[in-house]
């Protein structure tokens, strides 16, 4: 669905990303993971045409992504980022319906679609009339997801969507998000720095370091066939909590 060919991006004369070549197949969930500054968010923005590569080419569904094609293309891609990126001057409903209104959908069609999505993301209906500031972080994320899904896009790009949530809400939302991704059979690309989250969601994990792909494959490969020393260290760094031994009474 997405293809990057020898893509590179420079910031202040230094390579922030690439050159790299990557294909993201349709109807699969791909996780982009790596330490901060590894270029994973830059990669996501290149896919959407929000930034243009300094070298190489990006294509979506066989069409090259250029400033001319990007806007039409973005209407076929849902995008959600950390803490939602919701507009504070609009209610939840206003945020979700913004693009549909812009495209001139009739109101009944908009309302029907919003009802459908409210069920899908399991958001209490009355919360939609609130402003983003009056919602909790988890609720904001659900509204943001509705907004991304409103036009029934072919692909869903998520940039650290759960990064700002507390652990319990996060687990609940991870589960819902995975169910939704599987049920809708969308092409999902998720950026995260949390390996457990990536493993939980993804059919395939792309591990980045300093703008380059270190390892690309099924999650299990990271443990069983690490590409190099860095992968091993990265995997080990994300261990679970050390449970202390029980103290005899």
């Amino acid at each position: 669905m997405f293809r990057l060919d020898g893509v590179a991006k420079f910031y202040a004369g230094k390579a922030a990303l690439g050159p790299l070549t990557l294909t993201i197949p349709a109807r699969q969930t791909t996780a982009l993971i790596g330490p901060s500054g590894c270029g994973k968010s830059t990669l996501l923005r290149l896919l959407m045409g929000l930034i243009t590569p300094d070298a190489g080419a990006v294509s979506f569904d066989g069409t090259p992504v250029t400033p001319d094609t990007a806007r039409a293309m973005r209407q076929r891609i849902g995008f959600a980022l950390q803490d939602g990126g919701l507009f504070p001057h609009l209610s939840g409903r206003g945020n979700v319906a913004l693009m549909a209104r812009y495209l001139g959908w009739p109101t009944p069609k908009i309302d029907a679609r919003i009802d459908e999505l409210t069920e899908l993301v399991r958001l209490p209906r009355e919360l939609l009339d609130r402003r983003p500031q009056q919602l909790s972080g988890g609720q904001r994320q659900r509204v943001s997801l509705m907004r991304a899904l409103m036009l029934d896009p072919a692909a869903l790009l998520l940039d650290e969507p759960l990064g700002a949530l507390d652990p319990l809400v996060r687990v609940e939302l991870q589960r819902d998000l995975r169910d939704i991704a599987r049920r809708l059979e969308k092409t999902v690309v998720i950026v995260t720095h949390d390996l457990a989250e990536a493993v939980y969601f993804a059919d395939r994990i792309v591990l980045l370091k300093d703008g380059l792909i270190v390892q690309d494959g099924p999650p299990a490969d990271l443990w069983h066939r690490p590409a190099d020393e860095f992968v091993t260290r990265f995997v080990q760094a994300q261990r679970g909590p050390q449970v202390p031994d029980a103290v005899p009474a």
């Binding site: 973005r74 990126g85 913004l98």
Partner: protein, 501 residues
């Protein structure tokens, strides 16, 4: 784009002050009592023969001269010394020919001269042994206060100082009536006087002898456009009927009626025409507003209406221009800096200078250089900075994540601007409009200097006549209007805030 905006501005200006179908005869005058009384007399003389006569109070000599030569006014009272020394800056052998070049004619003397002179308290002068201007050379410490025009004019202080070799350095510019008060209160030692001023007798001042003959003679005359004679020969004949009919004593008495007895200028002019010249008796009735003084409420109502006619159009056009300009400046930061700098520089131009500068500009654009249009244009320019700056700030302070979200959704730049960015920046933009509106209400009072009316007229006339109730008649409503404007915008801000919380 620029032409469109200019056209828009011109349109809104044109809508607010249009002369009626038949072009009236317009009588100008400068902003001091004698000139206004003479202007009223001129209007009274011409009304019976031409009917449609309008009065326009302007600022000083330069404004009147520009307005006369470009046709905003048809006639105003002037003094021969001012014509030669300040307007022509030459002493031509044939004054009529020199003025004909400008399409202007001059009448014979009205019968009195109003010369410049220096005045002092008699006791202060006696204590120092001062009788004549040349005596001032020995007293460098004397404190002098003159009106600004006198300080600038070649036939004023600069010429006088050079002619006599005067040493005084403590010289300030101030209002004529205030300077009189200051001399009486011994806060000043010397001021300039006009020999027909009512105050000379009222305060019993000493007029210093011009012993080295510097001041020229200032015979009062009518200056009028040459084409007035063709358009309304009867009007010019009526004006000329006053030649040689007003004595110095007459003029002093008329000035005194206004300055000291606080009678209105139209009423004083009316009295003079009726009593002294047996003119106007039969025609007194049509000039209703001169005899029947409008009530305080009616006067305040009228100035409020005139004031709003300056403030509202200038502010509306400023919003229409500044918001797009601000959007442009926010999108193109490099050009944006130039835009902000330019509007900032406009803000530092002294308001009076900007008003005067607008007279020829508006004449060129609209064919009308005095009254409301130049005042509205100046107010418009002053309102730009707060609105442009707040629009830029409002747009630039939108978090990057929100801007990116709008972009990522696939909104066009225009839709992102109108549906996301402008609504988010709205509270800041409204705050800028509020600032502009409040400044605008205050600055509009200066419109009184160029005949734009509004609260400035009673304030300036009040200062001139040292008539405090008259001053307050403009100052108090102006302050109240500023507060009302502030309150109005606070409600707007609260409604906007309520919508988003």
């Amino acid at each position: 784009m620029t032409r469109l905006l200019l056209g828009l501005l011109a349109l809104s200006l044109a809508g607010c002050d249009r002369t009626p179908a038949a072009k009236p005869v317009v009588v100008g005058s400068k902003k001091f009592t004698e000139s206004i009384v003479l202007g009223e007399i001129a209007a009274g003389l011409m009304r019976p023969v031409v009917g449609n006569v309008r009065r326009d109070d302007l600022g000083g000599t330069p404004v009147c001269w520009v307005a006369l030569t470009q046709g905003d006014i048809d006639i105003y009272p002037e003094y021969t010394g001012t014509i030669t020394r300040q307007i022509l800056q030459a002493n031509p052998p044939d004054l009529d020919a020199a003025l004909a070049v400008h399409g202007v004619k001059v009448s014979k003397s009205l019968g009195f001269r109003n010369n410049y002179a220096l005045g002092m308290r008699k006791d202060v002068a006696a204590a120092r042994g001062i009788r004549a201007v040349s005596d001032l050379k020995r007293h460098a410490d004397l404190r002098c206060g003159f009106i600004h025009e006198f300080l600038d004019r070649p036939d004023g202080w600069p010429g006088l100082k050079a002619h006599y070799g005067l040493p005084q350095v403590n010289v300030q510019g101030m209002n004529h009536s205030l300077a009189y008060r200051a001399v009486v209160e011994k806060a000043l030692d010397v001021t300039e006087v006009y020999t027909t001023d009512g105050e000379i007798a009222q305060y019993d001042l000493l007029v210093l002898d011009d012993d080295a003959k510097f001041f020229p003679s200032y015979e009062a005359v009518w200056l009028y456009r040459a084409d007035l004679e063709a358009r309304h020969p009867a009007a010019v004949a009526a004006l000329k009927s006053l030649e040689g009919r007003v004595s110095e004593a007459d003029m002093q008495r008329l000035n005194n009626r206004v300055q000291v007895e606080k009678a209105s200028e139209p009423a004083v002019a009316q009295e003079f025409l009726a009593a002294t010249l047996q003119l106007g008796d039969a025609t007194a009735e049509p000039i209703g507003n001169a005899t029947a003084e409008p009530s305080l409420l009616a006067r305040v109502g009228r100035s409020t209406y005139e004031h709003l006619k300056l403030v509202v159009p200038s502010l509306l056009v400023a919003v229409l221009v500044s918001v797009p300009l601000g959007v442009f400046a926010a999108r193109r930061p490099r050009i944006g800096r130039v835009v902000l700098l330019a509007t900032g520089v406009l803000q530092t131009v002294p308001s009076l200078a900007l008003l005067l500068f607008m007279i020829p500009v508006m004449k060129f654009l609209l064919g009308r250089g005095t009254g409301a249009p130049p005042a509205i244009a100046a107010l418009f320019l002053y309102s730009l900075l707060p609105i442009v700056r707040n629009t830029v700030t409002g747009l630039q302070s939108i978090p990057e994540s929100l801007r990116e979200s709008a972009d990522a959704l696939g909104l066009s730049p225009w839709a992102a601007l109108t549906r996301v960015e402008l609504p988010l920046a709205l509270p800041t933009i409204v705050a800028g409009i509020k600032t502009a509106a409040v400044i605008n209400v205050g600055t509009a009072t200066l419109g009184g200097f160029i005949g734009a009316g509004g609260y400035g007229r009673p304030i300036l006339r009040g200062i001139d006549k040292l008539d405090i109730p008259l001053m307050l008649e403009g100052a108090i409503p102006a302050a109240l209007l500023a507060l009302a404007v502030e309150a109005f915008f606070e409600v707007v801000e609260r409604v906007l805030a309520g919508r988003r919380s």
